[in-house]
């Protein structure tokens, strides 16, 4: 792959858009992602659910430490085991659990901070935007627990009026051993 091709791939993927159009789309998308993150960090789970498309695939496969020769097995495949493999009903169930007065493991509630970085729009097809970002979900609990989950994610956003809904979120964690008691926080 030549430098030009790489650069082309990197910088010009959604070809038909002008630079200015792409910049504005980037702005819209980033603002949406930040607002979405803020809802989670503010524990407004119901409001967050409103941003989730009916057909969402919310998925975090398991990563493994493998050799280079085995690198295609680094992540589990769709249909095999995963940390998350949720549809909308499942996400609703997660929110319902968080809202239940009896979710002892989230009472006192966790404190989360979702950092969304390096956002790149990879594709615009009809009303769907595919993007990639680096994420850092920082969570503290009680006075002593500190967790950081870091990785890459690909989202599909679907334009709906003035805003978007999230139609896909695939989360690729960097860690292979989860160094946390649980993952009770939404990503």
């Amino acid at each position: 792959m030549s430098a030009l091709e790489v650069a082309a791939e990197a910088a010009t993927a959604p070809a038909p858009l002008s630079l200015a159009e792409r910049a504005l789309l980037q702005f819209e998308v980033e603002q949406f992602l930040y607002a979405e993150a803020a809802l989670l960090d503010a524990r407004r789970y119901r409001d967050w659910l409103a941003l989730i498309a009916e057909d969402i695939h919310y998925w975090m496969p398991i990563r493994r430490t493998v050799t280079n020769s085995d690198i295609e097995r680094e992540f589990t495949k769709v249909g095999d085991m995963a940390f998350f493999d949720d549809d909308r009903a499942m996400l609703e169930m997660r929110v319902k659990k968080l809202e239940a007065g009896s979710a002892w493991s989230e009472d006192p509630p966790s404190r989360s901070r979702h950092f969304v970085s390096n956002v790149r729009i990879l594709d615009v097809a009809g009303d769907e935007i595919t993007l990639e970002a680096a994420f850092h979900l920082y969570r503290t609990r009680l006075n002593t627990e500190v967790d950081s989950w870091i990785g890459r994610r690909t989202d599909v956003l679907r334009r709906e009026g003035e805003s978007f809904r999230i139609a896909r979120r695939h989360l690729f964690l960097d860690q292979t051993l989860i160094r946390a008691t649980n993952m009770s926080t939404l990503f």
Binding site: I62, V66, K96
Partner: protein
Amino acid sequence: MTLRCGGRMQMADGATGVEQGWDRASILALFDAEAGWLDRRVLSDQALYQLELERIFARGWNFMCHDSQIPNVGDYFINYIGEDQVICVRGEDGEVNVLLNTCRHRGNALCRAEQGAAKSFVCSYHGWNYALDGKLIGVPGQSSYFHGDLDRSQLGLVKAAQVDSYLGFWFATMAPDAPSLHDYLGDVGRTGIGMICSYGDVEVIDGIQKNVIDCNWKIAVDNLFDWYHVMYSHASAGSAGIFKPAEILHPNNQLVMLGEYGHAISGPGLPSERQTQIDLMSDEERIEASRSAPANSQRIRPRLGAELMGASGVRSMGHPNIFPNLWITLGGMQVCLRLPRGPSKTELWWFTIVPKDAPASYRKVAVWTAIHLFGPGGLLEQDDGENWSQSTRASVGFSSRQLGQTLKMGLGHDRVTVDEHGQRFIDTRINEHAQRWLYRSWTEWMAARDWAELRARHSPAPEGAV
């Protein structure tokens, strides 16, 4: 190969929990089976933990992997015996070898991946090359630098003293004088593994979830027998709708089995009358009924179930634990290993298992269930970890660690029944029999200096009143 014998420091009178050694009497006093009282220091004492690595983990049979994870020659899966890393690898002869993952030259780790396939194991430091059975087959410079006088036959990878499998589940022990796997498992251990295989040969689905919890491994084992916490701990999971407590719990139909050396099964059990009805169904009907609801606790097992689990064991809808740390759950659809990483740290490894011939639809539901109930993102499992870590933490403070845990539920109220085939079980309500058995066995393992002593002095599986 002979391991250097590691004796133990004599206990100084009045030594503190933090520094002391432990003699037989003081270990046995850690759990009072008659009173249902457990000394909290079992969760936090550093010396006890070191002793566990030696007397429980190196000496017991540890679950390694399932046949299906390493189907081909050279396939390997990394696991642990206590804190010792081992390679479980399919040898040229098709057998599974369990090898300490440490080069005999300077000790470097041979395998650094969690799984993979190898023709042989080449050390990244100086290139010593070991065959799949651990034999040292290549040493760079053997003739030139070593003048040909390195005795390679003495420098193979250290093999587990015994390796064996039951129904495709491989186990290993570092103790040459341990009983055979068959005898070690006994009826209860075999019933537990039988539960997984009641619908025929199984395979592990790709992807082992692994996470770390700041708790002692034993509080996690205690919890698997604990059907008492479900209603309260998991209330929000219930109200969210992920499971229906009433369909699962059956508080007044609990079946408990206690096996030699600490194995146990505890949890809901079908009433014998119900089993009698099932016995009249054809295998096809049973499988059909089971598969329609794999997460459901109504285990309508085919005939094979009773063969593997026994006429009474087959009624179990509960949780077997292969001592020390292999939990079988979801009626055999998952197993979870609890690997010690210090007195207050435990790794949990989740394996998801389906019958080889299960239809795609079943497989899909199995995966869905495994992901959404258990593992760090599972709606049930989320609730457990902090209870365990906080319980472990409360065994550390000076005043708190003077206290005990209370394990009195059902104590003295039940009887062990022996069925016509000699299988022992307890039909009762929600109870703590299995936990008491766990800790009673644990003290005996910890107090015994070697297998001879453990064999001679351990409690037989209970009979009569418990």
